[in-house]
């Protein structure tokens, strides 16, 4: 209970935001499309927060975050399909399970690969991401319903404002508490100097593994929400480009800044989807030309992100 009291201001702001969103959503004051984007921004916040715990707080560079997002999405869609779940409350355990599945796979894959350092870890996670992509592409061989490369169709639409908003809120609070606990301190110390952290008695491999599994779990939960928002999944939604999306959000928001990640997710999704509305189709392709330039410029100008608290 104490931690809820400690973040009074944050809770107050969230209540105001929720009421505002509720008013906007009621009577379709804003179009269904924009409602969907708003929910999507919240989902992206959850998944990006996971990557921020892995990369921003613990310093473990992962290029396979979208794989865990995809694992969560497919798990959740599969479970609701075979159990015929339609209600929000019966969906909650499924959401939790999809997060736990993604977290467990993150744990198992983390045991060997987290021993690697930055760029080798990057290539190993990239490899894992591609492996997951290959498996999803062939998933119809294990179960017809998963659809393989044709995509998973006919998922029930369950994700709504309340579910998304309160899951995101809850996860932000939990993550904030994790980060400001003793363990969060360990994680940040690993990021700053792994060798020194080992020498003061931190079990660095266990801490890294814990942070990695937790981050993957958040990606899985985000994926579960995503599956039931768009009701269609395709393996190509979970490839390297998507991982880079999350990475860009963490970098723009700033490594090790929860608030930054929240703002960056909302701004980023708004920006990407907004361009889809504003720009004509011919110019839309330019997005992925401008984004890498932005990324390179950001790396030269502020390598730790726009809202990073501390510059080393």
């Amino acid at each position: 209970m104490r931690f809820f009291l400690e973040s009074k201001k944050f809770l107050l702001v969230s209540v105001v935001v929720y009421i505002l969103l509720k008013i906007l959503f009621a009577n379709n004051f804003i179009s269904i499309y924009i409602q969907q984007i708003t929910l999507f921004a919240l989902i992206v916040t959850v998944a990006s927060l996971g990557l921020n715990v892995i990369y921003g707080y613990t310093g473990q560079f992962s290029l396979g975050h979208a794989a865990f997002y995809g694992i969560g999405a497919y798990t959740s869609a599969y479970l609701t399909k075979i159990f015929g779940i339609e209600g929000v409350f019966s969906f909650l355990p499924v959401l939790l399970i999809s997060g736990v599945v993604a977290g467990c796979i993150g744990y198992l894959i983390g045991i060997p690969i987290l021993r690697l350092r930055d760029d080798f870890l990057a290539i190993a996670t990239l490899g894992f991401g591609t492996l997951v992509r290959v498996i999803l592409d062939n998933s119809d061989r294990f179960a017809e319903v998963l659809g393989g490369s044709r995509g998973f169709v006919g998922i029930t639409k369950i994700t709504n404002l309340e579910l998304t908003f309160f899951s995101a809120l809850f996860i932000v609070l939990i993550t904030k508490n994790l980060i400001y606990s003793r363990y969060g301190l360990f994680l940040r110390s690993i990021r700053d100097d792994e060798l020194a952290s080992t020498s003061i008695g931190i079990n660095t491999s266990r801490m890294k593994l814990m942070a990695f599994s937790y981050g993957c779990m958040l990606a899985g939960i985000g994926g579960g929400l995503y599956a039931h928002l768009y009701t269609f999944l395709h393996p190509s939604n979970f490839d390297i480009l998507k991982s880079i999306d999350f990475l860009i959000i963490v970098i723009i928001g700033g490594m090790g800044s929860i608030r930054g990640t929240i703002y960056a997710s909302i701004i980023w999704v708004g920006f990407i989807e907004g361009l889809r509305i504003v720009l004509p189709v011919e110019l839309l392709d330019l997005r992925w030309v401008v984004i890498p330039i932005l990324l390179i410029a950001l790396m030269m100008w502020k390598p730790y992100g726009l809202m990073a608290k501390k510059i080393k």
Partner: protein, 296 residues
Amino acid sequence: MELLGYIIEQTINGLQLGAVYALIALGYTMVYGVLRLINFAHGDIFMLGAFIAYFLITKFGMPIYLVFIITMLSTGLAGYLIEKIAYKPLRNAPKISLLITAVGVSLFLEYFLSLNALFTPNYIAFPRPFEIESYDFALFTVTNIQLLIFLITFVSLFLVYLLVYRTKYGKAMRAVSYDREVASLMGIGIDGIISFTFIVGASLAGLGGILYGIAYPQINVFMGIMPGIKSFIAAVLGGIGIVHGAVLGGFIIGLLEVFVSAFISSTFRDGLIFIILLLVLILKPSGIFGKRIEKV
């Protein structure tokens, strides 16, 4: 006997693919040696090589030897420019920033070239620069394309070996790779050596691009992604930073890929390569030829 002939033919196909991977892997391994950077854009330079060759052949109708020379020079220039513009300002930045920049450069090249005004994202048929001839042996056949690829790869690998182990530049490269600071104290121009490494690596990738275009005559702006990653895995498999390791790794990956496609299933081809990567990183992170175990 049929099976034996089939196996031999698949081996030749595997060596053909492996030769291309070996050429790309050399660039990865050399750049990693001097800069400690996984140059994600390297696969896109390979793609650029295929496209430049395509334009030289179709638009200008150049003879094939001129195509090879001009393509290699232009991709070498591209490698030089990428290093100067994107990587050099980050020489003292954290390693991850450099890696993210490399990913950015790679994405930029792919999506910039895929614009409809430029190359478009579609597949393009690579022109045949000469007629195919196959030579029949008792059990198997070999095409002149395959022989050309083996010949060119062998000669260029030999030249790179001479360059790295028998010349002053090669010595400087190895010194920079061993310890950049001390090498600079010994009077080696670090920037010059890094640029030189990028030029050599990128022109080899360009060469790989032409050979790939001739052997598998369909090119696309995104064609560099998978060969790029696989060649990197080849470099890791052989021991990153080691020239002959990259070559051996390239051939191993090429053979495995062809055999998995031929005997198991082509859909699991890409998955298998990453299982190999994970196994190598877990069991022997320094690779086949690596002596020093990486401190992790």
